[in-house]
């Protein structure tokens, strides 16, 4: 079953077209990796799917339903969790508020949400009342991932989560993604860390200058073939 689909999506900022005629699909219970160097349009494509960047043409679908004209909060309400790359935590808010923000949860439900987050990343429990802006880079990434996780998504859109993370945390996130896959979650993962992408991914799409240049299954693909798209 196709969880997330982009069909001929073109988008950009103002007059500038950044993403051109992109086609992707993410199956439920699988990870599709979006590979490419910095500045090729990966983040813009993710933001277009989330309704943040205006789409110029093409259609995006969630479990077959057209979400092209939906607003970001409407897409998020359809159990699509987005873990963005930049400005991803609310620096002025506590870790607790970052995790529970937007969840119409009672006190008991909020406690469950926090327990889920601590089960994934125990360090967050020690930081609970700390302002998110004071966390280390790695802790901020954990918070961003945990915030997406506790929304019980059917689809997860993740933007370069492994960037700048120490290997032990990357390993932890690899395990969490594997578990999400087993639970049927469709994951669309923008990455430059090829080892991580190959560890969790099922299929890949390579982007270059806003367009798709290659796609296929991760299994059996030659590493060198993908590396050439990521090296400068």
């Amino acid at each position: 079953m196709i969880a997330l689909e982009a069909d001929g999506v073109t988008s950009g900022y103002g007059e500038t077209v950044v993403v051109r005629n992109m086609n992707i699909h993410v199956d439920a219970g699988s990870v599709t990796c979006l590979l490419g160097r910095n500045g090729v349009g990966k983040t813009t494509l993710l933001k277009t799917i989330m309704g943040v960047v205006p789409r110029r043409s093409g259609i995006t679908r969630l479990f077959g339903q057209d979400i092209s004209t939906k607003r970001p909060y409407e897409i998020a309400a359809r159990q699509v969790a987005y873990a963005p790359q930049e400005s991803a935590v609310f620096a002025d808010l506590s870790v607790k508020d970052n995790l529970t923000l937007g969840l119409k949860a009672s006190e008991a439900q909020a406690r469950n949400v926090l327990d889920e987050a601590f089960a994934a990343f125990p360090i967050l429990e020690q930081r609970l009342s700390q302002k998110a802006g004071t966390l280390s880079g790695g802790e901020k990434k954990m918070l961003v991932f945990a915030r997406a996780l506790v929304r019980h998504p059917r689809v997860m859109i993740i933007d370069e989560i492994s960037e700048g993370l120490q290997p032990s945390i990357v390993y932890l996130i690899t395990e969490l993604i594997t578990r999400l896959k087993q639970n049927g979650v469709g994951i669309f993962l923008a990455e430059q860390n090829l080892a991580f992408a190959m560890a969790v991914g099922d299929s890949y799409v390579v982007m270059h200058r806003g367009t798709m240049v290659e796609t296929g299954a991760i299994e059996g693909v030659a590493v060198a073939r993908l590396e050439k798209h990521l090296s400068i």
């Binding site: 933001k47 943040v52 909060y73 998020a76 609310f90 002025d92 923000l101 969840l103 961003v144």
Partner: protein, 271 residues
């Protein structure tokens, strides 16, 4: 002095909540204060309890604010220059509507309490003491709302990154903007009703308040509600002293001089 600071804080708080979240300078804020004062006046005309005006005024301005947000403001989010021009036009429109409907003659509102209280050998009108107490309660209530509630967290998240708030946490950012504008209108309405017994109510009364209120927000730094209270205390207090020592015109000059000096000082510290 305390009364001047309290009135300035009351009139600035609504302007602040809108400016802080949306970056919009609502030049029609003074007209919401005026509408609140007119509501208090009509409560008196119909011989209803003057206390009712503190409930009716924010309801009236909330309804007007909601209508204006739907028709005008939602088209101006993120457009600073356009919002200044549009709210300036809105300010004139509201003034003219009130002049057309009720005329331009001055109106007077009687105070709900006429007793006086004495402390340290000085006698104060009780109503003025109640205004100061109300300003302090409002400050504490806004602080609690901002720091201790989920709504406050949502507003602070939207201030920090509306994009992330919407996409990563599912917050309806436009709804937050709408709610904030309505709350700002309500605060202006209640400020108008509170100050009405102390001033002459006219269709153009708002202009004077919006300028001082905006200066208080800018002097305070527009970062958090206590900074607005501080800005209001500094400006309201200094205007009050200068007006007492010299005259009200020089009092106003002092306000502008202090505002410019403090803003320049902060700019140089930020560099």
């Amino acid at each position: 002095m305390l009364l001047a600071a309290a009135i300035l804080f009351l009139t600035a708080s609504g302007l602040f909540v809108v400016f802080r979240l949306m970056g919009i300078v609502n030049l029609a804020h003074g007209e919401f204060i005026m509408l609140g004062a007119y509501t208090a006046y009509f409560i008196g005309v119909f011989n209803l309890s003057p206390w009712l005006s503190y409930i009716a005024a924010p309801i009236v301005t909330a309804i007007v604010g909601l209508g204006i947000e739907r028709v005008l403001m939602r088209r101006l989010y993120g457009k600073i220059m356009e919002s200044i021009l549009a709210t300036w036009g809105l300010s004139m429109l509201l003034q003219q509507l009130v002049i057309t409907a009720f005329g331009s003659m001055p109106r007077y509102v009687s105070s709900p309490v006429n007793q006086v209280v004495s402390a340290f050998g000085i006698t104060y009108p009780l109503y003025e003491v109640l205004i100061i107490v109300f300003a302090i309660v409002l400050l504490l209530a806004l602080l609690w709302l901002d720091r201790k509630t989920q709504l406050g967290a949502v507003v602070r998240a939207v201030i920090e990154s509306p994009e992330t708030a919407a996409a990563a946490t599912g917050i309806n950012v436009n709804r937050v903007y709408q709610l904030t504008f309505v709350v700002g209108s309500m605060l202006a309405g209640i400020a108008g009703a509170v100050i009405a017994p102390l001033v002459t109510v006219t269709p153009v009364m708002g202009l004077d308040y919006v300028i001082r209120a905006f200066l208080a927000v800018l002097v305070g730094g527009a970062a958090a509600i206590p900074s607005v209270a501080l800005g209001a205390s500094v400006l309201g207090g200094s205007e009050s002293i200068a007006s007492f020592v010299w005259n009200p015109v020089l009092g106003y000059v002092v306000v502008i001089l202090i505002s410019v000096t403090l803003m320049r000082l902060r700019q140089s510290q930020m560099r």
